[in-house]
Amino acid sequence: MKDLLIELFSEEIPSGMQALGSMNFKKLMTEGLVDAGLTYENAAVFFTPTRLVLIVSGLIDMSSSEILERRGPRTDAPENAVLGFLRSTGLKRNDLEVQKVKNGEFFFAKIKKPGRPSGAIVSETLKKTIEGFPWPKSMRWGAGTMKWARPLKNIMGILYDETGANVIDLTIDGLVANNKSVGHRFLAGQSFSVNSFDDLKLKLKKSFVILDQAERRAEIKNSATNGAFALGFDVVEDELLLNEVTGLVEWPTVLIGQIDKEFLELPAEVLQVSMRQHQKFFSLKRKKTNRIEGFITVANIKTKDQGATILRGNQKVLSARLSDAKFFLENDLRVVNSGMLSWIEKLKNVTFHKKLGNQNERVERLRVKSIELSDIVGANKKLVEQAALFAKADLASEMVYEFPELQGVMGSHYAKFCDFPVEVALAIREHYSPLGPTDKCPTEPVSVTVSLADKLDVLISFWKAGERPTGSKDPFALRRAALGVIRLLVENNISLDLVSQMSSLENEKALDLLNFIYDRFRVFLRDDDVTHDIVDACLAANSNNDIFISYLKAKALSKVLNSESGRDLVQGFKRSNNILTKAESDDGVSYELDPDTKFFEVKEEHELWSDLNNLSDEVAKAVAQNNFSVAVEYLAELRKPIDNFFSMVKVNSENSIVRRNRLCLLHRIKTTITKIADLSLIEG
């Protein structure tokens, strides 16, 4: 048994590709080895900007041998045929076996396919892996034909145990595998030879490379936190940036700097985005002021001046960037001072989508829709109109042109600068939310109204243009918009007839959009552990296409249906409904009338009827108050009278009057229960 160690050393691979690349490297190699008959004990993979390192331990030395059986000619075949078979198998006549099978007697050859040494398999597998590597984007270089994420410079590959290490025999496009590795580009000396994984790790560390990405990540995080703390700062957490930075350095050195005073007036979001985006700096909040006043940059080198030169350089770049931001802000404020209307005019030149016109037209639709929705949401119409009108104004600002992710945020700052009411400024910021399932959902009525209007407008506009998402493609984030509509309605207790909102769409498109939103609704509730059949049962009983009410019903129903009485209620309902549906279809009538108590024959009929009457009122009362958990509990009380009824009564009585009367009773069960949900859609 041996351990296999491979290092693929290249020029700097983009940080975002390293983790996935390393996982693919491990997967392709280990699967390839196993497919070729080599088993192993453990495998792990490591990466830095310039290397992918795979260690496979406990790899067996030979793949196991196999015996292949081949049928030859019949025993009575001409001599030439037999000789040909011997030639092709490389066997002698004595080696052949004779076997009787159902259509005669045949020669059989047993060919032993010997196991192959791991070295040969490893080099084949590695060659295949490198040549077919699934980088999201790869390139060629020089005059070669090989492709890699960036030029591949060296392949180190050894199979080793305590007796020594052997280099893998492999040449690809001029690169010959060897046992060499090299340390940090600027800090380390010559390349060195490697005889084991531990040896590599140790020598790399001496050569200023922390191979293990988790170790580098922890090192950055700890130094940043401790360093910031010592200076009275808190690091603004940013896991994505931490991952990215981990993939940019081999020998991380955390350096802490302060933002020039003249820029502290810039909005915090501008500081953060500018530092993160352009410089890959972490933001530091000063504990005392609770403001962003510092930054952390992670260098890839240790210097004799403790990074002073590096920090000075970074500080200078930051100042230049921020003075640019200040320049944009000052230009923007000139427009803001005059009321921002010129921006809305300018939005005529900004395309929203080629089939959907420009952003100015979008603003007008948004304004109309927002006003329309303000009563339903319960928001001040004047504020809603102002917020809708200026919601997209910042798309014409220089700051948002430079930092698109600050849309809404800058608009909000500018609105405050104009002394717009706080609700308006907040709505301008929040109307893009929620951006997905975990993003904060607006709750202020003005924000909710404009956000809802914006999402409905986007959905309706795209449907009108025939641009619904297909398959996994959703470039305009319409699924997210639909989820936004759902969350806004559900989390703010808003009853809204969705179909009436889609009156500008043709019927077919409106139905398709409604189903699209319902699909998102099923996913939304699935994440809440409500199964799709419960959602469907509630949607089927939902004459107003009202998401909020369906949500309340589904949650209440889901809770009750998890109990035994709930499951029995479903069975009782289904039984009742089956009989009723069949009878109505056989007889061609609908048994909508109230039953007549004088035709009841047993007390179970009386009991069921009186329970239905009593409960109907209670259910109606609870429904009127949107108190569906109470309504559903009342329904659950029907389970017993329904069960008793069916155990004592045969619905299809010979007496047609009694039969009709009982069917009317069943019809009443149906209308009572389907006020909440169509339980026939519940599975099981």
Binding site: E12, S15, M139, R140, G142, R150, I301
Partner: protein, 309 residues
């Protein structure tokens, strides 16, 4: 080679050292192209010579114009006219990164004192129909160069691959010389008889061009020039390959490409004037790309493009 502790004293000395360095490596040191371009990449010594199979190694300074970046000379880092130092080597050499790093040492950057990083940057030029992979090179957080392995040029796969380095000379010089505002850069040695700063030469020029680019340039004339350049480019390429005067085959890829460059710059000027809407933008870029593609087609029919008669 220059001692690395010996810092350059001026903007022009940085250029001299880079030229010397790449000359010593074996590059032909060419001079700037005499038509307005947005970047060194547009010089035919890069755009056209990256095409075809023939080896090639050049370096040159290229004045570059970006009308929208004009700031009247007031912004410490932004100019509508600046200089790039461009290196193009085909096929890209094996130790291209180390060669580049050595060039930084030559202009006085101590690699053990600074943080030099190769940060992902996928380069794409929609107007040239070109793309490549590589990095922007950061020195202490500042982008000082672009480093690209060309994969496609004018729609053609680059085989072999050219390696391109573009140094942003003003930024690099500001860093090396420790100057905070571009106009303060010593253009020549401060101890020379007639010392000039960058601003002595360009401050007024930047203000003049900024005003003209943004507010004055006659857009009607610019639109007309664009149409003319496009028309002439197509006409040149449509001309029969055989010159009737000498009965010789002469494909005029370079004159056609000049017209393509003019069209490209005119588009940039119109853009700065703010008269091209978002939707039209794509259409104009597409027209320039079509010209670049046609010029590339023409170049591949010439000797330099590897055409064999």
């Amino acid at each position: 080679m220059t001692n690395k502790t010996n810092k350059p004293k001026s903007f022009q000395e940085i250029i001299f050292r880079l030229q010397r360095y790449w000359s010593d490596f074996g590059c032909a040191i060419m001079q700037p192209y005499d038509i307005e371009v947005g970047a060194g990449t547009f010089h035919p010594a890069t755009t056209l010579r990256a095409l075809g199979p023939k080896p090639w190694a050049v370096a040159y300074v290229q004045p570059s114009r970006r009308p929208t970046d004009g700031r009247y000379g007031e912004n410490p880092n932004r100019l509508q006219h600046y200089y790039q130092f461009q290196v193009l080597i085909k096929p890209s050499p094996e130790d291209f990164q180390s060669l580049y790093l050595k060039s930084l040492e030559v202009i006085g950057i101590d690699l053990k004192l600074h943080d030099i990083r190769f940060v992902e940057d996928d380069w794409e030029s929609p107007t040239l129909g070109a793309w490549g992979l590589g990095w922007e090179v950061w020195c202490d957080g500042m982008e000082v160069s672009q480093f690209t392995y060309f994969q496609q040029m004018a729609g053609y796969d680059c085989k072999p691959v050219s390696g391109e380095i573009t140094y942003g000379l003003e930024r690099l010089a500001m860093y090396v010389l420790g100057v905070n505002h571009v106009m303060e850069l010593p253009f020549n040695d401060p101890s020379s008889m007639h010392h000039v700063k960058y601003g002595d030469i360009f401050m007024q020029v930047e203000a003049e061009y900024s005003r003209w680019n943004f507010d004055v340039a006659d857009t009607k004339i610019l639109f007309q020039h664009f149409e003319d350049a496009e028309k002439e480019c197509k006409a040149i390429l449509a001309t029969k390959e055989i010159d009737p005067k000498f009965e010789k085959r002469i494909v005029m890829a370079h004159p056609a490409y000049d017209q393509c460059l003019k069209a490209s710059h005119l588009f940039n000027l119109l853009d700065a004037r703010g008269v091209i809407s978002v939707t039209e933008r794509q259409a104009y870029i597409g027209r320039v790309r079509a010209l670049a593609k046609a010029c590339a087609d023409g170049f591949l029919l010439t000797d330099a493009g590897g055409y064999l008669e």
